[in-house]
Amino acid sequence: MGAAAGYSGHGNRCGKFLWSIPLIIVEFSIGRKTRKGVVGSFAELMGKNYTWMGGFVAFCTIAIMFYYSVVTGWALRYFLVAVTGQLSGVNHEQFWKSFTSGYQPLIFHLLALGLGSFIIYHGVVKGIERANRILLPSLLVLLIIGVVRSLTLPNAAVGLNYLFAIRTEQLFNYQVWLEGLSQSAWSTGAGWGLILTYAVYIRKNEGVVLNSFITGFGNNSASLLAGLAIIPAIFSLAPTIAQAESALRAGNDGLSFIVIPQLFSKLPAAAFFTSVFFLALFFAALSSIISMLELATRIFIDFGLPRHKALPLVSLITAIMGVPSAIYFKFFQNQDWVWGLGLILSGLFFTILVIRFGASRFRTEVVVVNEEEWDPGFWFDYLLKIIIPIEAFLLLAWWLYRSIGWNPSGWYNPFGAQTLGTCLFQWAAAIFILLIINGFVYRKLVQRRA
């Protein structure tokens, strides 16, 4: 989260109200109304000329699924290694490098994908709901164990200061707010199409506004627990405050798979607490991969394929498309950069849908459809018409501008790992393909069914 990691948390919480919760309301409402997946919903509500936008939202999330399955596999492998005590006494950086450069990530990518597919093969109620009934409470228990251990370490207060102390000089730092907004956009899953897909299965009279607020607050509650479990522990176990701050800037994979095992190895019962961390990470990743698999499966179901045929097809495609990320770390980084940022564009497409439909009309005809539903009020219209599109443009411009600074001499390179060029090239390629098949997809999803 960058230099102002602790403080951007406040920006993150503002971001919930200015980005995530309105988009979650939009997704829930669309899924409940259309009873179709992402592409079918865009086709139905926006018409033929805009079906490709739904295609982009789906493409973006599916592209993330291809490499996210690899991350789930890493977490599974590290849990197994930690629980058998093989992580103790190793050089964690070397261990990580040798692991990611070998064939093991491929095997664990397939294992994680197989497990996710097995769960959703049994459908939404018997598969996804049943699995989440085990995964989410277990994740909560594991997080609470982590919080208790972290807060009882010596000097944990230094980490709490870092996490919560007000640094007034950062209040006017635009980067902190943009970092917080980005974190909010990515952590809740708003604008990914996942919530829309789950909403296909909710009751017609389910309160989407209440559920959206629960989703936003629940996500923040879990994020706070994770922060309390990790940040005080890092500040307590790192030799100096500067080293702790540098550990927090190590990036997601560096922090999770190198720094945390390194620091946790200093704890008494290190194997237990490292195992708890990786099991929690695996459960969190698995619950995400399940929702992504369901998103892709739902689209094929909308095309007329039964679940028992759609899911194996999705799993096979994911297994194959995840291979480059599993065996080539630079490719993984590239995909994480391109499609992670693509999610902001996905969020923008959802707001375009609402604007085209008419924000007030969307609120009265799609959101508030029964007497029990809370009316989000006029603020919802203005957020979706003005604030969120401005946020999306700012976020896209800021991240793309930053990427020029990371690679000033080769920012235009379409084959660079994290360049502006690769981002624009891959988005343009995806949109070009989606525009070519736009008419065909629309006919299949809307006209044929009608």
Partner: protein, 41 residues
């Protein structure tokens, strides 16, 4: 721990966790009412 950090921590935790529990409680009550109506009707 700094006093300002303690105040901010208490504020954030009570708003976020408190808000979450209140919303879950509202949802639980609505669900209960719905089930009661279904049984009655």
């Amino acid at each position: 721990m700094e006093t300002s950090a303690i105040i901010v921590m208490c504020f954030i935790l009570s708003v976020i966790w408190g808000g979450f529990f209140i919303l879950v409680n509202v949802a639980y009550k609505k669900e209960k009412q719905r089930k009661n109506r279904e049984i009655a009707g």
